[in-house]
Assembly symmetry: C2
Homo-oligomer: 302 residues x 2
C-alpha cells in the first residue's frame, strides 16, 4: 500500500540526531530538550499557490516546504533542530515522485543538521499539499517582530526581487547568518521576507508601534529583479519592494552597534542598511530622486 | 484581506499558557521547556478523506484536526502542551466558517489546557485542509510502539466500532487516562486506534517483534458498532475489529501488575484486557465459538 510503503522507505532514509530519542514510525517522536527556550513554526505549501507542479521539480517542492520553516526559525534568531512533515499526495502521483518530494526536504534537512522525526502521509484526489513544522533551539531572548525601537537601523540580508525566476524555490534559509547575529545580541526585531519587503516591513512597524523611513537608493537589487524588469517593463526597484518570497532577513538593529556588526568578518557583505525606524506612525519611502513620500505596501498576491 | 483578518481575529481568541513566551503572530512561537523530554506529532486532515463537509460541522472539523494529534500524544504517555495549526481554506469558504473551524480546535485546546501558539493560513481553489502539530511533555521514557514484550497483556480503553456514526468526530483523546497510566510505569507499549484495532495491533506486533492472541469474546463492542451492524448486516464484532477511528488506547502492559492497574479507582472501568502477546510471529484471533485462527487485518480504507 502506497502510504505504508512510503513510510517504510522514508524511515530508512532519515539520519540520527543527538536530540532525538525516538524518530519516524511511532505515534509521536520523543525529543531531548537541549535548551531552556525553543521555537516552533509551521507552514503549508499548496499546489497552484506556492508552487506549480509544471515548473517546479518534485525535489524543489519538498525542499521549499522545509526551507520556508527553516527561514522562520532563522527569523527568530534560533537554530533549527527537528522537523515533521505532512503530505497530501494526489492519487495520480507516482511513488517515485513522492520519494523525490521527500528527498528534496531530506537533503536540505541534512545540510542544516535538522532531523526529520515524523509526519503524516495521505493520498487524495486533489492537489499536492506539503506541510512542515520545525522546532529550533534558542540561546537568547529571541527576535520578536514587535521588538523594533525608534532609532534602530533597518537592515536586510542578501538582495531582493525577481524571486519568481528561481530563488523562491532554491533560496538558502539564513540560519548561519542568524546564528552569527544572535551571538552579537544586537538585534531587536526580525522577520523573513515572505510576502514582500514592504508588507513584512509594515508588519514590523505595526507590531512594534514605530514608523520607518526606507531609503530606495540603498535597497540591494537582485540580478533577478533586473531580469524580471526586462520581462515586465517595471523598474527593478519595484520588484525588490513588492515581489516577495526572497526569504531574506529583515532586521531592526541597535544603531550604536550597527557599525561594529557590519564590519565583522563573518558578516561582511551579508547585510545592508536600508533605512531607520522612528517614533512616528508613518511608513516613508525616500525615492531615488531624493523626494520622500508614503511607502506603498503591497506584495505577491497568492 | 481574508488571511490577515483571520489571523488578527484568532490572535484575540487564544489564551495564555505558562510554557509560552511568545505566541501567535510572529515567525515562530517561543516556548519554555518544562521537561527533559517532549513528544512531537503532526497530522493532516483532508476534505473527502477524513471528513465530509456535508456531514461534519465546521467546528467538528477543526476539533478533529487537533483531537487526532492529542490522541497521538496520549499514545506516548505524554501530556499535550502547545499546538500549531495550518489551514488551506477553499476560496468559496466564508469567513464565519473559517472562524468556526478554528473555534472547534480552540475549544478542545482549552479543555485540554493546550495553548495554540501559531500556524499558517492560506486560501486556494481546492478542498479544505486542516493540519495540526502538537508538542507534549513526557515525564517517563515513553510508550514506544516497539515496546511490547512476550507475556504482556493487551488492553484497550473504551469500546470499539461504528465510529463513522459520530465518534470519529467527537471522540475524547485519552490524555487523562494516559496521565494516570503513565504514573503507574506499567505500560510497555501503546498506540491509538486510528486505522483499526487489527491494523494498529498488527503494527505493535511488527515493531515489537511479538505475536498476539486477541480474544474476540473480550473485545468491548460499542453501542455504535451494534447500530452500524443493523445498517450493514455485518456482525458488531467486525465493526469493532475493522472500522477504525475509535481513537482508543491500545496498550501492552506488564502482566504481573495488570490486576493492580485494573482495580485502581481512577482507572476503574476504563480498560479491558482483550488478549496477550507471545513470542511467536503469529497474529491469532480466538473466536466467540472458542476456535482460534489467523487474525484478519484490515481497516477503513481512506
Amino acid at each position: 500500500m502506497f502510504e505504508f510503503d512510503f513510510i517504510e522507505w522514508l524511515s530508512s532514509q532519515v539520519t540520527e540526531h543527538p536530540d532525538v530519542v525516538l524518530g519516524v514510525g511511532d505515534d509521536a517522536a520523543i525529543l531531548r530538550n537541549s535548551e531552556d527556550l525553543q521555537v516552533l513554526t509551521t507552514d503549508l505549501l499548496l499546489e497552484g499557490v506556492h508552487f506549480e507542479s509544471g515548473s517546479a521539480t518534485f525535489k524543489q517542492i519538498g525542499r521549499k516546504a522545509l526551507a520556508v520553516s527553516l527561514s522562520d526559525v532563522a527569523a527568530m534568531g534560533a537554530t533549527p533542530t527537528v522537523a515533521v512533515l505532512t503530505f497530501a499526495f494526489p492519487q495520480r502521483l507516482e511513488f517515485a515522485a513522492a520519494q523525490d518530494i521527500f528527498r528534496g526536504a531530506l537533503e536540505l534537512a541534512r545540510e542544516y543538521r535538522v532531523a526529520i522525526v515524523g509526519g503524516d502521509t495521505n493520498r487524495w484526489s486533489q492537489g499536492l499539499v506539503v506541510g512542515s513544522t520545525v522546532l529550533g533551539s534558542l540561546k537568547h531572548a529571541g527576535w520578536p517582530i514587535s521588538g523594533a525601537r525608534p532609532g534602530d537601523l533597518l537592515l536586510v540580508s542578501g538582495s531582493l526581487g525577481g524571486s519568481i525566476l528561481g530563488k523562491h524555490l532554491d533560496f538558502r534559509p539564513r540560519c548561519d547568518l542568524a546564528a552569527a547575529l544572535a551571538a552579537t545580541q544586537l538585534v531587536h526585531a526580525a522577520t523573513d521576507i515572505s510576502d514582500s519587503l514592504t508588507i513584512d516591513l509594515a508588519e514590523i512597524c505595526r507590531q512594534s508601534k514605530v514608523g520607518v523611513c526606507l531609503d530606495a537608493m540603498r535597497v540591494p537589487i537582485a540580478a533577478a529583479a533586473r531580469a524580471r524588469s526586462e520581462q515586465t517593463g517595471r523598474p527593478p526597484l519595484e520588484h525588490a519592494l513588492f515581489d516577495g518570497e526572497d526569504f531574506e532577513l529583515l532586521l531592526a538593529v541597535d544603531p550604536e552597534a550597527a557599525d561594529e556588526l557590519l564590519t565583522k568578518p563573518e558578516l561582511a557583505g551579508q547585510l545592508t542598511v536600508i533605512g531607520a525606524f522612528d517614533s512616528s506612525d508613518r511608513l516613508v519611502l525616500k525615492r531615488e530622486d531624493g523626494r520622500a513620500g508614503p511607502l506603498p505596501v503591497r506584495g505577491y498576491e497568492h
